[in-house]
């Protein structure tokens, strides 16, 4: 029997009089990889922040005592010119959580942050390196649930591929439970066992094959989604997964 890590019941999130999310309910079990999709402004980032208790909400968000969430935000509002190095930042979190001083080094090894990058000021990191820093930061303290908000927005394809490889290895090697906000349906197909769709008028949840139908996507994104389904004779499933990409405008950093 799988352990339930998170129960969300009748959650409503508003900014002033505007309800961004209304009466949302879903559950997350140990080992799940849930992709959260929806058009811009549907409340995907807001939902992750509410799950982490960073913003107020109505309803109930109940984490199991075993859950240790880690968060990789879509963007960080930090001044990139801050005199902080990767090492400073990871060491500060490690001390705060009373972790062994060597733990940041182990995490950096896993994520692919070199010794040179450790000593680099955060302002000098490339987009991909900065994303790795955010992932390493989230992994400090050994979380068992990772909340990943558009982890590859604004990254080039090669770096994007690398970040997703990392995500898959975390899932496979550590059995990490993942909540992933993504616009990339090929990634959703590849990674997620459940999809949570958010839009102004409709929410739904289910396995990707049931949820990511053309009709559902059209309803979700309101305008006709510019995706195409390209099926090869020999490799039916993988080609379908690879080519099913949605192309409404992506949220920018």
């Amino acid at each position: 029997m799988t352990n339930r890590l998170l129960s969300v019941t009748n959650v409503t999130i508003s900014f002033g009089k505007r309800e961004v999310i209304r009466d949302l309910a879903f559950q997350v079990d140990e080992g799940d990889c849930i992709a959260i999709i929806g058009p811009n402004g549907a409340g995907k980032t807001v939902l992750l922040k509410a799950l982490l208790n960073l913003i107020p909400y109505r309803g109930e968000i109940l984490w199991s005592p075993q859950a240790r969430p880690g968060y990789v935000p879509q963007k960080v509002e930090a001044d990139r010119q801050l005199p902080l190095s990767t090492r400073d930042l990871l060491a500060a979190k490690a001390r705060l959580l009373k972790l062994p001083p060597a733990e940041p080094l182990g995490i950096c090894d896993e994520v692919g942050i070199s010794n040179e990058l450790l000593n680099t000021s955060i302002g000098a990191l490339s987009g991909g390196q900065f994303q790795k820093l955010l992932i390493a930061f989230a992994l400090l303290g050994r979380p068992n649930v990772l909340l990943f908000d558009e982890p590859t927005a604004s990254l080039d394809e090669l770096t994007e591929e690398h970040i997703y490889e990392l995500l898959h290895s975390l899932q496979a090697a550590k059995g990490m439970t993942v909540l992933l906000v993504s616009h990339d349906l090929s990634v959703v197909y590849r990674s997620a066992n459940k999809v949570l769709c958010l839009s102004k008028d409709k929410t739904c949840m289910g396995p990707p094959k049931e949820v990511l139908t053309p009709t559902m996507l059209q309803e979700l994104y309101a305008s006709p989604p510019h995706y195409y389904q390209h099926v090869h004779e020999h490799d039916h499933e993988s080609a379908r997964e690879r080519d099913l990409r949605i192309a409404p405008e992506r949220e920018k950093w």
Binding site: P69, V76, D79, L84, A92, K93, L96
Partner: protein, 257 residues
């Protein structure tokens, strides 16, 4: 008299140490202006204390800490309205302070005075500086995370609003120590300028703190001694602030890559 002046000199050096540390955090957390406004809120308190013949430090402390809570509350909201509100508080505090401070005490309230300090005053000031240094050290990791990202810090368990309040209180306590010889207008200058100067010189966190403290100590020592032996103004505050501003200008020429 000489002993009281010596005690004052040592306390000013202690103050500059706290000011350098607090300034670095304030600069990175983008709280320099909020802190600056808080320091001006000491003026109405000084005015009231002079009017009712009370200890000026007590009067300054009362309105400083009241102002800290006010600015903290305003700062929790973001946006133009908050900036405007903080600006209004600043102008109103200055105006009320100027209106109620007896004219013979106005200059020293604004720019400080250089009378020696009693051993008790020295010990209280030194204890306040020790508290500030200890608290910045204890809070350094929470502050580093909050400076990087409030959301990530909060997700790590840091209570951001409470941390900001603690920090503003430390800022106010530092201003209070410097109030006597720098005055309500100049006390925060020694928090702002050394950190701004150090930021031009390094991109490394530990060097940033070290440089700010060294610059702050140098400006204070040079300003105090220059005034005592050469200029003989009624207070060293303006000389210290001018030296700090000059060091900042020079730092622009050798800005760290």
């Amino acid at each position: 008299m000489v002993r009281e002046q010596a005690l004052l000199f040592v306390l000013v050096l202690f103050f500059s140490l706290a000011a350098g540390l607090v300034g670095c955090v304030a600069l990175m957390r983008r709280m320099l202006l909020a802190g600056d406004v808080i320091s001006h809120l000491a003026l109405p308190g000084l005015g009231l204390a002079f009017t009712f013949k009370l200890n000026p430090v007590l009067g300054g402390a009362a309105t400083l800490f009241l102002g800290t809570f006010l600015v903290w509350q305003l700062q929790k909201k973001t946006g133009l309205a908050t900036e405007a509100a903080i600006g209004v508080v600043f102008a109103a505090a200055l105006a009320i302070g100027a209106a109620i401070t007896p004219s013979e005490n106005l200059a020293e309230s604004l720019f400080g005075e250089q009378q020696g300090i009693s051993p008790t005053g020295f010990l209280l000031g030194a204890a306040a500086v020790a508290l500030v240094v200890f608290a910045v050290f204890r809070l350094r990791d929470r502050l580093a995370l909050a400076i990087f990202s409030s959301d990530l810090a909060a997700a790590t368990g840091v209570r951001i609003a409470r941390l900001d309040l603690y920090f503003l209180l430390l800022f106010s306590l530092t201003v209070l120590v410097g109030l006597r010889f720098m005055g309500a207008l100049l006390a925060s200058s020694l928090i702002i300028m050394p950190s701004a100067t150090a930021r031009q010189l390094t991109n490394k966190l530990s060097h940033f703190f070290l440089f700010a403290v060294v610059i702050s100590l140098s400006a204070v020592a040079a300003g105090f001694l220059l005034n005592a032996f050469v200029l003989h103004f009624s207070t060293a505050g303006p000389t210290i602030a001018i030296i700090s501003a000059t060091l900042f200008s020079l730092s622009l020429l050798v800005r760290a890559k």
